[in-house]
């Protein structure tokens, strides 16, 4: 349903999106991951026809977005970042306006409004002014707008941003359910969401796709991690001993002092975290250290995300 090829976007001298390609089929839910400023929103704005790409191709439902935007936009539902709304309208009239722009009139329009009000649990605020709604309701109102014409393609920019845990859960289930017969792209930086709702995920960093695969495939790309807290010797010397273990890729130290070391031990790819944990345990008992904590994480998405996106905040 969505085919994006070699998408580039430059703002002045800054390249926001640099050669992004992906495609999404019907029945697929694609998670769009990346640190802030990686180019997620810019990419989505280009796919929805808001921004014009510097170069590249976008086809939605077989229609070229650049050559025939009005036609291509027809099959897309879009939830922009921050869920913008006309603050002077009521929920019902806002949805009516969106339905009309989507070409729904008369009875079809009223039916569509009723349907999305029900799907998004908005019936109770139908006649309330958008101004007076809480953030969760505002978000759902904008979400309702995106599915009012029952589109084949849904593009959601951070659909769970600012929702409480119950609402997040609800939206995730909604995405999953609709993903069965639509092509959905949604961006997030909450990684558990990707595991919960996506059939595929793309990680994008500094405008480039750096990983593409199912959540399970992506997990295998990362280093497993062993978290340790050891007491009984100076932090520095404990760290030096652990580093000698064969199969330790890198150590991210946490809180260390004269009598304790804590940190995260990254396991070399291909080695099992269980083996390394056993070795650390052996080392500790040999040295008469007290092992306060030993915890293994088998390739979490977080780790992969952190290891392959070099965010500006990283030291």
């Amino acid at each position: 349903m969505i085919q994006v090829e070699n998408l580039r976007k430059e703002f002045g001298t800054k390249t926001a999106v640099d050669g992004v390609s992906f495609s999404v089929q019907k029945g697929e839910v694609l998670g769009f991951l990346g640190p802030n400023g990686a180019g997620k929103s810019t990419t989505m704005r280009m796919v929805t026809g808001y921004f014009r790409p510097t170069s590249g191709q976008i086809r939605v439902g077989g229609v070229d977005m650049l050559e025939n935007p009005e036609e291509a936009k027809r099959s897309i539902g879009y939830l922009p970042e921050n869920a913008p709304l006309y603050s002077d309208m009521t929920v019902g009239s806002f949805l009516g306006f969106c339905a009309e722009l989507r070409g729904l009139r008369g009875a079809a329009r009223d039916k569509a409004i009723d349907r999305v009000l029900e799907t998004c649990f908005l019936e109770s605020v139908r006649n309330q002014s958008v101004d007076t709604l809480s953030k969760g309701y505002k978000h759902r109102t904008c979400f309702a707008q995106s599915i009012i014409h029952d589109p084949d393609v849904l593009i959601l920019d951070e659909p769970t941003d600012g929702l409480d845990p119950n609402q997040k859960h609800e939206v995730r289930n909604l995405i999953k359910r609709m993903g069965e017969n639509k092509a959905i792209v949604f961006s997030t930086h909450i990684l558990e969401e990707v595991e919960a709702a996506c059939s595929r995920a793309i990680i994008i960093d500094r405008g480039k796709v750096v990983a593409d695969g199912t959540p399970a495939e992506l997990k295998q790309r990362g280093n497993a991690v062993v978290r340790v807290v050891i007491k009984g010797a100076a932090g520095g010397s404990i760290r030096a001993e652990i580093e000698k273990i064969n199969g330790v890729h890198q150590i991210e130290p946490g809180l260390s002092s004269d009598e304790q070391f804590s940190g995260r031990v990254l396991v070399t790819k291909g080695r099992k975290s269980a083996d390394i944990a056993r070795e650390i345990f052996g080392l500790a008992s040999g040295q008469k250290w007290q092992l306060e904590e030993l915890h293994q994480d088998e390739g979490k998405l977080d780790e992969i995300f952190r290891s392959i996106t070099r965010s500006d905040t990283a030291v």
Binding site: R52, E70, Y78, E81, P84, L85, F97, E100, R102, G103
Partner: protein, 252 residues
Amino acid sequence: MNSKDIQSIWSVFKREFLAYFNSPVLYVIVVIFLLASQGFAFLFGRFLESDNASLTQSFFFWHPWIYIVLAPAVGMRLWSEEQRLGTIELLMTMPISPWHAIIGKFKAAALVWLIALLLTFPIVLTVFYLGSPDRGPILTGYIASYLYALGCLSVTSAVSAFTRSQVVCFIVSVAVCILLTLIGYPGIIDWFVKSLPASLEGGVRFVGYLSFMDHFYEMSKGVFVFRDVLYFLSVIAAGLMLTGLALRSKRA
């Protein structure tokens, strides 16, 4: 233009006009316009003292000065608000052409002015009651006045597409409207013609010809010339075109 285009424009127009209607803007503007236009006519225009059954000097004469301030006040929300709220992203990803939105919004603001102008009817009744005025100048006066308002509105529409701040839009629009009005003000043109070398007179007259005032004056005196109407229609078209370009450059 097929029926789908008309429906898209109608939807945008309806939303925009209801936004005016549901906010104090419409009422405040209309009331101030009525107070100002009637007040100027009676106080400065010497509507009664002049003993002349005509609205040209006493009533329409003041309209440009009112529009300079009030038209930007009506138009400043057109695109600035859309950008501030971020709803422009919704509007521009709908399956409609940007022109539908531009025209629909402009028409809504234009209707606000039509209402305001029609509500000045008591002064027309008065002049008919007191004397027997020439109908032509009154009709062309109203048309000229409305076109003037739309000219200022189209300028405001273009400026509002450039900024997300209504205040900036208002100030810049007022400045542009003042400029477009003053460059054609007879006194100012005469001053320039006198103080500049004679060879430049043609240039000054030409610049003056581009101003709103020049065309407004002719029409409000009852000289209904097609080229003056055409002038205002081109100003409106240019304003809307510039709006479209500005919106496109924001998305480019």
